[in-house]
């Protein structure tokens, strides 16, 4: 009698061969793995949920934005910063080893080629991760994106070459003034919008820490430009089951939206990030 096997019918559960793990700048790594499904089907803003080892420490999977895909060579990249046990384990994995992940998960940035003329991508810190796949998608639709990218200090910038070689113009900001505009990237974007004769046709696409996304939403409202933001929360499951990943909806009655399934991308005025 042949043993029965579980009837998995999922294109979302993967074990993929790691092709490369490279430290781009101190503590920021890019991992490349072979996966034709992801390379063909990922949308900008979507994420994968990785089990960094087969043990119970850490227990949960760890979510990461899809950074870049190549459907010709069947690989995908994530970009991550080592901040704890999970990301540390990930950074120590080697080419040839297998990456256990679920994805692509979540919704994606909405691109409306008809109404949109200019795309401003606004990234804070590791919020740069989904901007490369987004930039490539925009270019394919013949929309020329511009990147506004802020970090604390110059050494934290990464992947600038990838954007420049794609023909994406990059505007940099550092909090300490070590490179580019001195101050927050939100101030840089505001001064750019202020100087425009008209903001019609401009859209903002953003990813970064909440303290950056909150003022960005206010600026977007002030200049009347649509603004999509990609959010990060703790995630217990990534598939809509644990109800641990909520953000407040921007309405009078208390309501939560769940980042893993209803996000991670929201219109900035759909959500309430204050407090």
């Amino acid at each position: 009698m042949s043993p029965i096997t579980a009837s998995l019918n999922s294109e979302l559960i993967h074990n993929s061969e790691i092709l490369e793990v490279r430290e781009l700048t101190p503590r920021i790594f890019r991992m490349r793995f072979h996966n034709s499904f992801l390379a063909r089907n990922s949308l900008p803003g979507q994420f994968i949920n990785i089990k960094v080892n087969s043990e119970y420490n850490p227990l949960w999977r760890r979510p990461f934005s899809i950074h870049q895909i190549n459907s010709g060579e069947n690989w995908a990249d994530i970009l991550f910063k080592v901040i704890g046990k999970g990301t540390d384990e990930l950074s120590r994995m080697n080419p040839g080893e297998s990456l256990d992940f679920i994805g692509p998960l979540g919704n994606s940035f909405t691109i409306k080629p008809d109404s949109m003329k200019v795309a401003y991508m606004v990234a804070g810190g590791l919020g740069i991760a989904p901007m490369l796949i987004l930039g490539h998608a925009l270019l394919k639709l013949e929309i020329h994106p511009m990147l506004f990218y802020g970090v604390r200090t110059e050494s934290e910038f990464c992947c600038l070459d990838d954007f420049e070689s794609a023909g994406i113009k990059v505007h940099l900001a550092t909090e300490d003034g070590s490179r580019g505009y001195k101050g927050f990237v939100t101030a840089l974007i505001e001064s750019t919008l202020r100087d425009m004769p008209s903001t019609t046709g401009i859209e903002l696409f953003s990813c970064g820490p909440n303290p950056m996304l909150l003022p960005l939403g206010t600026i977007a409202d002030r200049y009347n430009v649509p603004c999509q933001v990609s959010l990060e929360t703790l995630m217990g499951c990534g598939v809509g089951a644990c109800l641990g990943c909520g953000v407040k909806a921007n309405q009078n009655e208390l309501k939560y939206l769940y980042v893993c399934t209803q996000g991670p991308v929201f219109n900035s005025n759909e959500i309430n990030l204050s407090e």
């Binding site: 579980a6 217990g236 089951a241």
Partner: protein, 304 residues
């Protein structure tokens, strides 16, 4: 072939593997990962009379080999459950057990009457008298066995469907509660719900979940859960459903050997959404390789 069927009250499950309330949504969330009909059954997220948005965030925290949650029974409410969630559940060819909770004894009865009077198709109830994350009712009910027995009696009168009472471990004697519930007419008891726990971020001195305390689940609680199942198995004759940190088929077997007729997979669904189906397949393989004709032979087979 080995026979994986087990009986819980008037229900025959095609195998002993169920999914635990609050860890498997309303089923549909997992249908893109595997064929849910592989399972013995699914247990829905707890349903209440009125919709609940749930507790403030953060609601979850990772702990060593486990997690804390204080979701607070966020759910769509019974009306939306019947109109929006039932249509999918009806299409399933596996047992559907609706988990319910109320703030008062009357609320439990009203909720059950609503479901009984609807044309919803499902197979049984799991009664949550043991959620640590709601201010009223919740653990309070579960730890008072007079009230738990009263709820059981009233529900028993209100339905012919299978009635499973879900027990909390946060009591002095879970065996006493189980015995009282059996007396009151329950078809089965399921255990354990989460253990009350807490974690603090030492940099901010803030609790890691907004409600300060929450329910601990996952592999960390398995030894406790196993001991509770064993304890209850000495006190009742109705079938026991074992819950707590089941991550693979070996864990499931341990619970069955300790006295459980069936098991529920909870937190593990978060880590591997298809794990419950893998456990069914592996249980079957275990039975074949150990020449076990009926999986129920494993129940209480511990040699002690």
């Amino acid at each position: 072939m080995s026979d994986l069927k087990v009986n819980i009250g008037n229900l025959t499950l095609k195998n002993p593997v169920l999914t635990a309330s609050g860890t498997f949504g309303y089923g549909e969330e997992f249908s893109s990962f595997f064929d849910i009909n592989d399972l013995g059954g699914i247990i829905t997220k707890t349903i209440t009379l009125k919709p609940r948005v749930g507790n403030p965030f953060p609601r979850i925290a990772e702990t060593p080999s486990g997690m804390l949650n204080s979701i607070g029974l966020a759910n769509v409410g019974v009306d939306a459950f019947i109109s929006e969630k039932m249509p999918f559940l009806k299409t399933l060819n596996t047992a559907v057990i609706v988990n319910v909770a109320g703030n008062t004894v009357e609320e439990y009865v009203e909720l059950i009457s609503k479901l009984e009077d609807s044309d919803a198709e499902f197979d049984g109830y799991e009664i949550n008298v043991s959620c640590p994350n709601v201010k009223e009712g919740g653990v309070l009910f579960g730890s008072n066995y007079n009230i738990t027995a009263e709820i059981t009696r009233k529900i028993r009168k209100a339905t012919q469907r299978c009635v499973i009472i879900k027990l909390t471990p946060n009591v002095t004697s879970i065996g006493d509660v189980a015995a009282a519930v059996e007396q009151a007419g329950a078809d089965s008891v399921s255990l354990i719900n989460t253990l009350i726990g807490m974690a603090i971020d030492v940099d901010t001195r803030r609790p890691k979940i907004a409600c300060i305390t929450g329910g601990l689940s996952g592999p960390a609680i398995k030894p406790v859960a196993l001991a509770k199942v064993f304890e209850v198995s000495k006190r009742v004759n109705i079938p026991i459903i074992g819950i707590g940190g089941i991550m693979n088929y070996q864990d499931a077997l341990e619970f069955m050997m300790a006295g459980a007729t069936a098991i529920e997979v909870g937190t593990a669904n978060f880590i591997d959404p298809a794990i419950s189906s893998t456990i069914v397949a592996n249980l079957h393989n275990y039975c074949i390789s150990h020449n076990i004709r009926h999986v129920r032979e494993i129940v209480s087979s511990i040699i002690a």
